[in-house]
C-alpha cells in the first residue's frame, strides 16, 4: 500500500546507530519486542510450572513433610509442611501467570509481534513506540506480580478469578491484604499492555498490508491474531472497570460487590447494597473471550504449521476464517456458563447454555478441517508439526468435555470439580501451550536466525504429550467422584481418599513433564548461541516472512517489500515443479498483484510458472 513512505522511513532508520539500550532494551523493532515477550513469557511460565509442582507435591503426599520446602518458602512451609493459606496463594498465582502472562502475553505478544509485520509485508508495527510501551507495561506488571510473593500475608489467594468478598475484604484471608492490592495493580498494568498491543495489531493488519495482500490472502495466523486483538480490545476494558471497582471496595469503603456481610473482618462497617455476583459478570465478560484470546493464536499457528508440513493447502480456508469469526463473536455471549450455579435466573442460564453449545459447531469445523488437511498429505513430522498434531489431539479431548460443562444441567454436579480442571487444562492449557511450542519450533529460525536441535525437540514432544495426558486425563474421574478443585488435601473425606494413588501418579507425571521442559529450555537457550545457522526458508513455506533475510534488519526487507500475488497455501499445486509457490511469485500473465491469480483452485489448469525465489 503506502510502500514508498515506508521505504523512506526505513532509509532514515539506517542512519542512526543502535546502542545497547535501543537495540536490546528499549527496542522499537517488532522482532526484538517479540523476543522480549517470548523470553519473559518463558521465564514466567517456568515460575508458574514450578509453583504447580509444589502444590502437586502437597496433593500427592498430604501427610509427608518436605524439609527442602522450608528452605524455599520459609515460614510458609514450617517443618516442610505447606501452609494451607499459601497453597491457595500458589494456585492463584499459578493460574494468573499461566492464563495472562504466558498464554496471553507470551503467546499472542510474541507471535503477533513477530508475524504480523512479516507475514503481511510491513516494515514494522503501525506504532513501534506503542509496541515498546506494550512490552514494558507487561514487564512492569510481571515485576509487580512477582513482588507480591514477598509481602506480608503472601500473594493474592482468592483463586485466579479473585471473587469478592474474599478478595474485597483485606483481612478475609492472609492473601487478601497487600498481596491482593499488588495483584490488582499488576492486572491494571497488564491490561494497559494488552490494549496498547491490541490496538497496534489491529491498525497494522488493516492498514499496512503490502500490495496484493487482500484480507482473503492473509495467512490464517494473521486472521487469528487479528480477531484475538479485537477480542482483547473489547473485553479487557471491562475487567479494568471491574478491577477498579474492586479497588474502591477494598480501599475507599464502597460496596459495589459487598452485601450483608457480618464477618468480623468486614471491619465493623455495614457493607450493604452491592452484589458479589456483579464482579463475576464483569470478570467473565473478559474471562470467557480470554479463553479464545489464548486459543485462537494457537489455532492460527497450528493452521500454518499443519499446512506447511503436510505440503497441502489448509482445507477450507474460507470456512476457517468463518469459524474464527464465529468463535470470536460467540465468545462474547457465553460468559454466563461460568456462573450457572450462582443462583442467576434459570432463563438466563438457558440462553448462555445455548450460546455455549453453538460455539462447539465452529470448533468442530476447525477440527475436521485439520483432519482433512492431513488426509493424503505428505507429512514432514518436524517438532513443530508434532506439537501441532498434539494441539489437535488436546483440542478434541478437552473440547468434548466442554459439551458437558456447557450444559447447565450437567454443570450442576461438575462445576468447580476436578472435571473442570481436567477440561480447561487440556483445551486451554495444554492445547495453547502446544500451539505456542509449535510456533517456537517453527519460527525459531526467524526469531534467532538459528535452528533448534531436532532430536531434543522430538524427545521434548513425546515426554510432554505423554506426561500432559497422564496428568490431566485421570482428573476427569476425580471430578466425576465429586472431588472439588482448590482443596489443599482430600484427607477430610473418606470417599476422596481412594484417589491418593491417582494423585501420586499425577504428581510423578507432572514432575516428569517438568523435567521434559528442561530439555526444551536447554535447547532454546543454547541454540540462540550455538544452533546451526538457519537457511532462508527452512520449511519451504509460502508465506512472506521467509522472503526476508535471516539477519534481522530494521524494516525487514533490504529492498522493496515483496508484492503478493496469491493466497498463502499454494502447496503441492499440480503443474508446479516445487511443492510450494511463495506468495510473492506471480502466475503466468498476472501483472497487477490485486488481480485474482490465474487458475487458483482448479487443479486442471496448468498455467503455473516455475517458481523463482525473490
Amino acid at each position: 500500500m503506502s510502500d514508498h513512505n515506508l521505504t523512506h522511513n526505513h532509509e532514515e532508520h539506517e542512519h542512526h546507530e543502535d546502542n545497547f539500550f535501543s537495540k536490546y532494551v528499549f527496542s522499537m523493532d517488532h522482532k526484538m519486542i517479540a523476543r522480549q515477550f517470548l523470553i519473559t513469557g518463558i521465564i514466567m511460565g517456568t515460575i508458574g510450572m514450578i509453583m504447580s509442582l509444589i502444590f502437586r507435591l502437597q496433593l500427592a503426599y498430604p501427610d509427608m513433610k518436605f524439609p527442602f520446602l522450608e528452605g524455599v518458602l520459609g515460614h510458609w512451609a514450617k517443618d516442610g509442611k505447606l501452609d494451607p493459606n499459601f497453597y491457595l496463594a500458589l494456585i492463584t498465582i499459578h493460574g494468573t501467570i499461566m492464563v495472562f502472562y504466558v498464554l496471553t502475553a507470551g503467546l499472542s505478544g510474541t507471535f503477533s509481534n513477530l508475524l504480523i509485520p512479516l507475514q503481511i509485508g510491513a516494515r514494522d508495527m503501525a506504532s513501534p513506540f506503542m509496541n515498546m510501551l506494550s512490552y514494558w507495561f507487561f514487564f512492569a506488571s510481571s515485576v509487580v506480580l512477582l513482588s507480591s510473593l514477598f509481602v506480608d500475608g503472601g500473594p493474592a489467594s482468592a483463586g485466579w478469578t479473585v471473587y469478592p468478598p474474599l478478595s474485597a475484604l483485606p483481612s478475609a484471608i492472609p492473601g487478601s491484604g497487600t498481596g491482593m492490592t499488588l495483584w490488582l495493580a499488576a492486572m491494571i498494568l497488564f491490561i494497559a499492555s494488552a490494549l496498547l498491543g491490541g490496538i497496534n495489531y489491529i491498525a497494522t493488519v488493516l492498514n499496512m498490508r503490502t500490495k496484493g495482500m487482500k484480507m482473503t490472502r492473509l495467512p490464517l495466523t494473521i486472521w487469528a491474531f487479528f480477531v484475538t486483538a479485537i477480542l482483547g480490545l473489547l473485553s479487557f476494558p471491562v475487567l479494568l472497570g471491574g478491577s477498579l471497582l474492586l479497588v474502591f471496595d477494598r480501599s475507599f469503603g464502597t460496596s459495589f460487590y459487598l452485601s450483608e456481610i457480618v464477618a468480623e473482618f468486614a471491619g465493623g462497617i455495614e457493607r450493604t447494597g452491592g452484589s458479589p455476583i456483579l464482579f463475576q459478570h464483569l470478570f467473565w465478560f473478559l474471562g470467557h473471550p480470554e479463553v479464545y484470546i489464548i486459543l485462537l493464536p494457537a489455532l492460527g499457528i497450528t493452521s500454518e504449521v499443519i499446512a506447511t508440513n503436510s505440503r497441502k493447502p489448509i482445507f477450507g480456508y474460507r470456512a476457517m476464517i468463518g469459524s474464527i469469526l464465529a468463535i470470536g463473536i460467540l465468545s462474547f455471549i457465553v460468559w454466563g456458563h461460568h456462573m450457572f450455579i450462582t443462583g442467576m435466573n434459570p432463563f438466563l442460564g438457558s440462553v448462555f447454555m445455548l450460546g455455549t453449545l453453538i460455539i462447539a459447531v465452529p470448533s468442530a469445523v476447525k477440527t475436521f478441517n485439520y483432519l482433512a488437511t492431513l488426509w493424503k498429505g505428505n507429512l514432514h513430522l518436524t517438532p513443530a508439526m508434532m506439537f501441532a498434531i498434539g494441539l489437535v489431539s488436546f483440542f478434541i479431548s478437552g473440547g468434548l468435555t466442554g459439551i458437558y460443562l456447557g450444559n447447565a444441567a450437567l454443570d450442576i454436579n461438575l462445576h468447580d470439580t476436578y472435571f473442570v480442571v481436567a477440561h480447561f487444562h487440556l483445551v486451554m492449557g495444554s492445547a495453547a501451550i502446544f500451539g505456542m511450542l509449535s510456533g517456537i519450533y517453527h519460527w525459531y529460525p526467524k526469531l534467532f536466525g538459528r535452528m533448534m536441535n531436532e532430536t531434543a525437540g522430538h524427545v521434548h514432544f513425546w515426554l510432554t504429550i505423554v506426561s500432559a495426558y497422564c496428568v490431566f486425563f485421570p482428573m476427569h474421574f476425580m471430578g466425576l467422584a465429586g472431588v472439588p478443585r482448590r482443596y489443599y488435601a482430600n484427607t477430610a473425606y473418606d470417599q476422596f481418599n481412594v484417589f491418593v494413588d491417582m494423585n501420586q501418579f499425577i504428581t510423578i507425571a507432572a514432575i516428569l513433564g517438568g523435567a521434559a521442559q528442561l530439555i526444551f529450555l536447554a535447547n532454546f537457550f543454547i541454540s540462540i548461541y550455538k544452533g546451526k545457522r538457519a537457511p532462508q526458508n527452512p520449511w519451504n513455506s509460502t508465506t512472506l516472512e521467509w522472503t526476508a533475510p535471516v539477519e534481522h534488519l530494521h524494516g525487514n526487507w533490504p529492498g522493496e517489500i515483496p508484492h503478493v500475488y496469491r493466497w498463502a497455501y499454494d502447496y503441492s499445486k499440480p503443474g508446479a515443479e516445487e511443492d510450494f509457490i511463495p506468495q510473492n511469485i506471480p502466475d503466468a500473465g498476472q501483472i497487477d498483484p490485486m488481480e485474482e491469480a490465474v487458475g487458483l483452485p482448479e487443479p486442471s489448469k496448468k498455467s503455473v510458472q516455475e517458481p523463482v525465489m525473490a
Partner: protein, 480 residues
Amino acid sequence: MKIVKLLSKFTLLVAIAFTFTLKLSAQSAEEGKTLYNANCTACHAINEKVVGPALKDVHKRREEAWLIKWIKNSQALVKSGDPVAVQVYKENNEAMMTSFENLSDNEIKSLLAYIKAESETPAVTATAGVAVPAPTAGATASAASTDWDSAINWLLFIIAIVLTLIIATVSKILGRIGDIQGKPVVNWNKTNSILLLAFLIIGLGATAWEFWAHSKHTVFSSGSASEHGAEYDSMFMVTLIITGIVFVITQVLLFWYGYKYKSDGKRKALYYPDNHKIELLWTVIPAIVLTILVVRGLLTWDEMMDNKNEKARNIEIYAYQFGWNARYAGADNKLGSHNFREVGKVNALGVDTNDVNAHDDVITNELHLEVNQPVDFAFRAKDVIHSAYLPHFRVQMNVVPGLPTRFAFKPTVTTAEMRTKMNKPEFDYVLLCNKICGGAHYRMKMKVVVHTKEDYKKWMKTQKVLVNKKTANASAVALN
C-alpha cells in the same frame, strides 16, 4: 473410734464429692465434645497442626480467661496489642481465627474441658472428631502403603531425571554424528509416525483401562440419591456415549493420518483446498447432534431449577468460614425471619426470635433429611461466597452473602440403603464447600443423613426448638 467414724464419714463425703465433680467434669467434657466437633474441627486437631495450631495442652500454655477472650474475638485481642495474641497471630501467618461470640463462657469452659481431657489421653484415641482421618484399620493400612509407595515414587522420580539427562546427551551426540555423516542418524519422520500409532493404541487402551479402573469410584457407580439425579445420570450417559464416539473417531483419524501420510520423499501431497459439500456436511451434523443435546439439556435444566413443590420441607442452609448450619422450619414449615445485623447476637444465625414463625425453628450442625420427602433449600452466607455441593444428590448451589439462592429436590435413598448398596458400612452423605473461601476451605463440610420417615421423626424429637414454647408463652403473658 469417734475419729475413725468421723474419718470414714469424711472419706465418704470426699468420695461422693469426688464422684460428683468427676461426673460434672465428664458431663461438661461431653458437651465440649459436641461443641468441639461443631465449631473447631474445620481448622484444628488436638495433636497436629491443621489450619490452626494443635490444641494439645492449650490449657497449660494459656490462662483460661485469655482463652475465652481469644476464642470469642481473637482479632479484637490482637488489635488491643496483647503481646501473646500478637505473637500467636504472627506465628500462624496472620491467618485470622473465626470469632465465636455466640459461645457463652460456660460453653467455652466445657470446650476447654474436652480439649484437656483429650490432651491427657494417649494420641491414638485422641484423633476423635469428624475432620481428622478416622483411625480405622483401613486408614492405617493406606497410610502405611503411602509410605511404601512414596519410596518407589522417589526412585521413579530420580530415574526420570537420570533418563532425561541421558536422553539429552544421546540426542546431542546423535546430532553431532548426523552432522558428520551429512544425514541424520535417526529418521525422525519414520520414528515419529510409528510412535504416533503406538501412542494412539496405548492411549486408547489406557483410556479404556481408566474407565474400567476408576469408574467405580465416581458418584455414578452407586447411582443417584435424588429424584432429579436419575434424569441427570441418564443425560450424562447419553452425552458420554456421543462424545465418546466422536472422541474415538477423531483421535483415531488424527493419529492414523499422522502415521499413514508421513512423507517418504517421493510422493506428492494431494492438492485439495476445498469441498463445500463435505464442509456443509460436517457443519450440519455437529449442529444437529448439539441441538439434540441442547434441547434435552434445556428441558432438564428448567425442570431442575423450577422445582416448586407445596409439600416441600423448607430448610435453610447457612454457611460461614468454615462450617455449616441447617435450620429447619419446624411444624409450621415456615422459616422465621432473620436479620444479618443480629447474626451472632441472640443466636448464631441472626434469627428473629420475636417472629412467631421462628419459635419452632431448629438449628443443627448436621443435615438430616427424610427419604422421599421433597426439600427446598434456601441458602445464606455470613461472610464470603461458599458453595453447597452434595455430589451424591447431584445438587450444587452457590451460597452468596446478600443474595438468596435456593435449590429444591427430593432425596430417594436413605443413608442405610446407600451403605448396603455401596457395601461401605461407614459411608455418609456429605455436604461440602466447593467455592474457595479460605485456609480451611478443604475441611468445611457437614454430615448429611437421610432417614426413613420414622427415624426422621425420632431424630427431630431430640432436637431443641429455637424458642421454648412455655417460656415464649410466659414472656408473652408477661408482656400482656
